[in-house]
């Protein structure tokens, strides 16, 4: 067996092991790599950054723990940005295991906002995030398409109470807030078909500005909606989250993982080249033997 045949018959577990070792090694060694910011992420940041204090941002946390790795950093970066800018946030979780994700994010972000911090040269004094005044968590309801349509009439139709059982009318920040008309922007952070519903039944029906935070797997499929103007911004995968963290000057888990991404990709590209070289050389050898 020559080297090319060995390349072709390499056990995939060696590939896994090598990629894992490279990931762990690059993670252990702390160094920073530059993150280039794309226009589609910058447009989301700038939209939120230019909102006036008191305006409402609707954050749809439509993912389960299996997408936490990519979408949680986006949630953290966007919601902290909102709270630091004194914006109000309405949160829903239309994915089955989404409420747990949302509660964890809100708890962690509230802890972070309590601290005095400096982002982009601007000093922000720490403050307490108050449920019902700074944010409202509406929770989960089944059949997301009908929920999205229902909220277009009145949030109270699908959500008579918030996640904690408090009626919406008794929540201070929800007074006078009935539907998307009172919301400045909807940011959907999703790991599945719920994004399609936000585009077709939400933005298409009610016309609000819609931005998407997507898993890497979904990213390429949703760029046509950017071109058509149905969404004004897209953050795709951990790289999208890292770009937002870079813009917000709030480095988190996404930026922390970028150096690993670079080297993991290099290793995978190396294996792809090896596999292709092995394939073509062994094919040439077979063709030569047949002659």
């Amino acid at each position: 067996m020559n080297i090319f045949e060995r390349m072709m018959s390499l056990d995939r577990r060696w590939v896994f092991l090598f990629v894992a070792l490279v990931c762990v090694a690059t993670y252990i060694v702390p160094f920073e790599i530059p993150v280039r910011v794309d226009d589609e992420v910058r447009s989301i940041f700038e939209f939120i950054d230019t909102l006036r204090p008191g305006q409402i941002v609707f954050v749809a946390i439509d993912y389960d723990p299996n997408a936490l790795a990519e979408l949680h950093p986006m949630t953290y970066a966007i919601m902290e940005h909102c709270f630091r800018k004194n914006l109000k946030v309405i949160v829903t979780a239309l994915s089955q295991n989404g409420p747990g994700m949302a509660e964890q994010a809100i708890r962690d972000i509230a802890d972070s906002v309590r601290l005095d911090r400096e982002y982009g040269g601007v000093k922000y004094t720490g403050r307490e995030i108050v449920r019902g005044e700074d944010y409202t968590f509406l929770g989960y309801k089944p059949y997301y398409a009908l929920v999205i349509l229902g909220m277009g009439q009145d949030f109270r139709i699908p959500f008579p109470t918030d996640y904690y059982g408090v009626t919406l009318d008794s929540i201070p920040m929800m007074r006078g807030v009935h539907n998307y008309a009172q919301v400045a922007v909807v940011v959907d952070l999703s790991a599945g078909n719920i994004t399609d519903a936000w585009i077709a039944y939400g933005q298409g029906r009610f016309g609000f500005p819609l931005a998407l935070g997507l898993t890497g797997v979904m990213g390429a499929d949703y760029y046509p909606y950017l071109n058509s103007g149905q969404v004004f911004g897209i953050m795709a995968g951990l790289y999208g989250a890292a770009q937002y963290e870079q813009l917000a000057d709030n480095p988190g888990r996404a930026k922390d993982g970028m150096r690993v991404q670079v080297y993991a990709h290099l290793v995978i590209i190396l294996f792809i080249i090896m596999g292709n070289v092995g394939y073509f050389m062994s094919r040439r050898k077979r063709a030569g033997a047949a002659r």
């Binding site: 894992a20 349509l149 795709a236 922390d256 690993v260």
Partner: protein, 263 residues
């Protein structure tokens, strides 16, 4: 970190390693992790559905009625209709009456279809068609950034790519000559699209692994922080138990592998 918190987070770390053990081969640790995820997710979902769905959207809306009058005297008795339709779904469990469940299903599918068709057509077909046919601003074409401008070069690529892609999927004519050339360009466009998806997918999979590394790092830092006032020797003993269980299985596997190889 208290001992109870340590136990939960250690279970999480153990399940992470158990899940990754599948990359070597299927094994009992992976099975435990897999079944636990499915079971916990199902249980969590049922409780969420009860407290977030049925209680506020049904029971509380009928709460001012009396049960012995089947809530018909409540101020919103029409909520009994979806409740009844929902209850009819349970007839699926009866061999004789399972056909009754077609009524609520029929109603749901009817409503969903009625809602979906116009909105899907308008927003996922028509709007995309319009976006393909945006007029090209030629004055912008040679300007700065024409390569990434929707009104410039990329618009031509989108238009040509869509047409060529459609040519590729037209199978009523042989893919030869000019037609074949356009179809070939179409398949190249499709391959570039698939390549972009593949690149994103690799990034997604690596992201999952990075997240696990980050979690294991946080778990290690929090669990074996001796300045923690709740820290005790039990932390280390529990950790060793888990490591030994994984190591013991690894030894058994290596022994099996060696035996197979010798045979």
């Amino acid at each position: 970190m208290e001992f109870s918190t340590f136990l939960w987070t250690t279970l999480g770390a153990f399940l992470t390693l158990a899940t990754f053990s599948f990359l070597y081969k299927d094994n009992p640790f992976y099975k435990i992790a897999e079944h636990l995820v499915v079971g916990v997710s199902a249980g969590y979902f049922v409780i969420i559905l009860w407290h977030n769905g049925l209680v506020p959207n049904l029971f509380e809306r009928l709460a001012d009625g009396d049960w012995y009058l089947l809530w018909l005297n409540s101020s919103k008795p029409w909520y009994l209709v979806p409740a009844l339709l929902g209850a009819l779904m349970w007839t699926r469990f009866s061999q004789n009456y399972s056909w009754v469940s077609r009524w609520p299903l029929g109603m749901y599918i009817g409503i969903a279809t009625g809602v979906a068709i116009p909105l899907e057509m308008a927003n996922r077909v028509n709007r995309q068609l319009y976006a393909t046919m945006i007029a090209i601003k030629w004055d912008n074409f040679w300007g700065m950034g024409f390569l990434d401008s929707a009104a410039g070069f990329s618009q031509i690529i989108i238009f040509a790519g869509v047409i060529a892609g459609l040519f590729y999927f037209f199978f009523s004519k042989a893919h030869t000559g000019i037609f074949g050339g356009i179809a070939r360009f179409g398949i190249w466009i499709l391959m570039i699209g698939f390549g972009a998806s593949f690149g994103f997918t690799v990034m997604a999979r690596v992201s999952l692994f990075i997240n696990r590394i980050q979690d294991l790092r946080d778990w290690g830092a929090a669990s074996f922080n001796t300045s923690n006032p709740h820290y005790s020797g039990w932390f280390f003993i529990v950790f060793l138990l888990l490591v030994f269980s994984l190591a013991a299985y690894a030894v058994v596997e290596v022994a099996r592998f060696t035996k197979r190889r010798a045979a």
